[in-house]
């Protein structure tokens, strides 16, 4: 119980009248790799983004190391407000990789990776550079350190983004559809890097449409539908022998055009 790094309870998120997340309870255990699947609009990205407060939950609580973050806006309210310092603390420990990479275009590749180290962790530039180069070697981009992101392919940009997140030494990595905006032939190079991180035993959550990858990658698969966890289990349980009707319908749509 107390082992989990991050725990959410009754997490809800509304955008105006749209109720996207309808009460989610979930804990991230060290070393586990969670694949989150579901149809578009099911709330899977929103769920992931609530974990590092890219979205502020409408209600419910998020605990980091057993400590509940934020405080209620009043004694009777279940709406919480979150001081910036607390959010920064969470985000330093929970890294994120985005669908659109979100590299900083005005910085070179190595500067992108150094940025968090220098600005947030207050590391000296030479050390930060060393650290950045190590991460870039890991994702196979040591040749590209001095170029600007606009000169890179989508796959290369996403690998830089992964290196940038890894450099911060996060305890949890969140991947929000990391290959969805890539040309099909570039998907492999990014998935291989993620696979390699899995082999290192990192704690990771991945929102993806790559069900084949999810099957090999994950220790746990969550099927999200209508803002709740509809089915949770091992990859074999959820992807091969789903119990829920909705899960089966969803998976069938993927096999429709397979050969």
């Amino acid at each position: 119980m107390s082992e989990s790094i991050l725990r959410v309870s009754n997490l809800q998120k509304k955008f105006g009248s749209l109720h996207v997340l309808r009460g989610i309870d979930f804990a991230v255990e060290p070393g586990e790799r969670v694949a989150i699947i579901g149809g578009s609009g099911s709330g899977k990205s929103t769920f992931l983004r609530c974990l590092n407060f890219m979205e502020i939950p409408t209600s419910g609580t998020v605990e980091l190391d057993g400590k509940t973050l934020g405080r209620p806006i009043s004694d009777t309210s279940d709406v919480r407000q979150y001081p910036e310092a607390e959010l920064c603390q969470v985000r330093e420990r929970v890294g994120m990789v985005f669908q659109q990479f979100n590299l900083f275009p005005h910085m070179t590749v190595v500067e992108n990776v150094m940025e968090g180290l220098v600005t947030v962790k207050r590391m000296k530039k030479p050390q930060a550079r060393e650290r950045a180069l190590t991460e870039l070697r890991k994702v196979g981009l040591e040749e590209k350190v001095e170029v600007y992101p606009s000169r890179l392919s989508g796959g290369q940009q996403q690998r830089v983004a992964i290196a940038r997140a890894l450099a911060m030494e996060p305890e949890i990595m969140l991947f929000d559809e990391p290959t969805s905006s890539l040309d099909p032939e570039l998907v492999g190079e990014v998935l291989r890097v993620i696979r390699q991180l899995a082999d290192e035993g990192r704690t990771m959550l991945l929102v993806t449409h790559e069900l084949g990858f999810a099957y090999h990658f994950a220790t746990k698969v969550i099927f999200l539908a209508d803002g709740v966890f509809h089915e949770v289990g091992t990859p074999d349980q959820v992807l091969k022998n789903p119990v829920q009707e909705k899960t089966r319908t969803f998976l069938n749509r993927f096999s429709e055009f397979s050969f």
């Binding site: 603390q89 940025e115 600005t119 947030v120 606009s150």
Partner: protein, 221 residues
């Protein structure tokens, strides 16, 4: 009849015009620097989610956008002495009028630049654990500045030309000096042609500098 152009009397007093040009550059540069400071402050206030900050900033900006610049000059020069018993010399009054007015315009330029930076950039920075100030300084403003640069240069040219209004307060800018030279030479066509060319030379030189600066700033694209 054909007009007999004669620049000699004007060129004989060219030192007076140069002095005026220098004063024009001086008042323009000082007002740009102060205007940028005021503009940044107003832009941040206006972007604040707190209405108590954003509403006064919006009111200030709207006031300046919707009143003629010469009114600001007269107001600072004539109203402040009456209301607050401080008498401003023409230079100070003109700088106050120009920098507050251009601050209002710069604020809109800056705000436009800041909000034009994609949501993903804000998120990329936040996800690394950056606070709002760090994110602004390191990620948003550097990108916003390159985008706001062309309208910023445009506004600064507008401001430089507006400095001519300082002549109405008897500040010795280029236009005021031209009026002086004219009253001595009675050669208005020559005098005003000369200073028009001087404004052109000044601003064309400035715009070449601006182009070089812009090319360097956007080299990463």
């Amino acid at each position: 009849m054909t007009y007999q152009w004669d620049f000699a009397p004007v060129l004989a007093r060219f030192d007076l015009l140069l002095y005026g040009l220098l004063n024009t550059v001086k008042i323009a540069l000082i007002s740009i620097v102060l205007g940028v400071a005021i503009g940044l402050l107003l832009a941040f206030l206006r972007l604040s989610p707190k209405r108590i900050l954003s509403i006064p900033a919006t009111a200030f900006i709207e006031f300046y956008r919707n009143t003629p610049p010469i009114v600001h000059f007269f107001w600072f020069f004539y109203a402040l002495p009456v209301l607050m018993n401080v008498s401003l010399d023409p230079f100070v009054a003109a700088v106050l009028a120009l920098s507050t007015q251009s601050g209002a315009f710069y604020a809109e330029v800056f705000r436009g630049g800041i909000v034009s930076v994609e949501q993903g950039q804000w998120e990329g920075a936040k996800a690394l654990g950056m606070g709002r100030a760090q994110l602004m300084r390191r990620i948003i403003l550097p990108q916003a500045f390159t985008r706001m640069f062309p309208p910023f240069v445009e506004r600064s040219f507008e401001l430089t030309k507006t400095t001519a209004l300082a002549s109405t307060l008897a500040y010795a800018d280029l236009l005021y000096q031209a009026m002086m030279v004219n009253s001595e030479t009675f050669r208005p066509l020559e005098v005003y042609t000369t200073i028009a060319l001087m404004y052109v030379v000044l601003l064309v030189a400035a715009s070449s500098l601006a182009r070089v600066a812009e090319a360097r700033m956007t080299a990463y694209r």
